[in-house]
């Protein structure tokens, strides 16, 4: 186990704790937000984004990471053909399951074994996209890196 792996594991752990304690991984809280009955997760998203905007702006000149020496990756996320249909499909799945790729894992960690079905579905959907895109769509869709 290298130092870099420990660092990623540590940040994943911190993110998992955060998803748990903020309610982002809670199905009821997510549904309350999507039904516009609670502003809690809207507020969470807004403060998170504002903090990230300020912090990443301060980091804009940094090319190399402090602990790993790896380049700081800022992969562009251009507006391409797949963005709108992909976001529509994602939004439907998010609304039904009340989770996204990160929160589904957090739900499993919280002891909701049933959320394993969401995780398996996400993996199946990504595998299906590979086949669909290679054989039919041929859209350039950068990953969430």
């Amino acid at each position: 186990m290298t130092r870099q792996r420990w660092l990623h594991l540590g940040f994943g752990t911190a993110f998992g704790v955060t998803l748990c304690v903020t309610g982002a991984a809670d199905f009821d809280a997510m549904q309350a937000m999507l039904h516009l009955r609670s502003a809690h997760l809207f507020g969470l998203g807004a403060v998170t984004t504002a903090t990230a905007v300020a912090g990443l702006w301060l980091l804009r000149g940094r090319a190399v990471a402090l602990a790993t020496g790896c380049p700081v990756t800022r992969a562009p996320r251009p507006l391409h053909l797949g963005v709108v249909p992909g976001a529509v499909l994602f939004g439907i799945g998010w609304s039904i399951s009340g989770s996204c790729p990160g929160t589904a894992l957090a739900q499993v960690g919280q002891g909701h074994w049933i959320a394993g079905a969401t995780v398996l579905g996400i993996a199946a959907g990504m595998a299906a996209h590979r086949v669909l895109n290679e054989r039919l769509l041929r859209w350039r869709a950068p990953s969430c890196e």
Partner: protein, 191 residues
């Protein structure tokens, strides 16, 4: 929502992770890309085929045409990943999320194994196959949509929006509005 951390503190904490993660490791916060990396690794094994190919191509291009070549290919990284960067390290972010949530559950309480709570039972009933089937189908849409759209709630919704990326701004607006619309539609159908 009193049982959760206040959204001000929660947002500051999550935002701080989104900033500290690239500062310390070099990687932007984004979860669906790590799933994709994991799937590629399971499929190809060992060194990620795409990464190795991209690095080799980029090294040859830079050697032949100089640094200007990288600037003319805006989607390519500016330099090949240096040797000390472990391409598999990012994969450890995923078990970290599970571990972190398990630690959080020690304080906040464990969840029900075969349900996600009262709203979940109200929507899908108490039969396991219905709930699990719906979650699997929703997961397929999430995975397909995240790859097709090039991001998810963390990659587009936090990192991409914070960097002002156009694809992320549009993608985030579309998936939030779709999710709210579908929730209301499901309510209307369920009544």
């Amino acid at each position: 929502m009193t049982r959760f951390l206040d959204f001000w503190w929660g947002g500051l904490l999550t935002g701080a992770i989104a900033v500290a993660y690239p500062l310390v490791t070099g990687s932007m916060l984004g979860v669906s890309g790590v799933y994709d990396r994991l799937l590629k690794r399971l499929r190809y094994g060992g060194e990620l085929a795409d990464d190795a190919r991209q690095r080799a191509l980029l090294a040859e291009t830079l050697a032949a045409f100089g640094p200007r070549a990288a600037a003319e290919a805006p989607e390519a990284p500016l330099a090949p990943a240096p040797a000390p960067c472990d391409p598999a390290a990012r994969l450890f972010f995923l078990p970290g999320i599970v571990l972190g949530a398990a630690l959080g559950a020690l304080v906040w309480g464990r969840g029900e194994a075969w349900s996600l709570g009262a709203a979940f039972v109200a929507r899908f009933g108490s039969e396991l196959w219905r709930g699990a089937g719906a979650l699997f189908a929703a997961g397929v849409l999430i995975g397909l949509g995240a790859r097709m759209g090039g991001g998810c709630t963390s990659g587009h919704g936090i990192s991409g929006v914070a960097l002002g990326q156009r694809g992320s701004l549009v993608g985030t607006a579309v998936f939030w509005s779709t999710a709210v619309g579908i929730a209301r539609l499901l309510d209307a159908v369920g009544r």
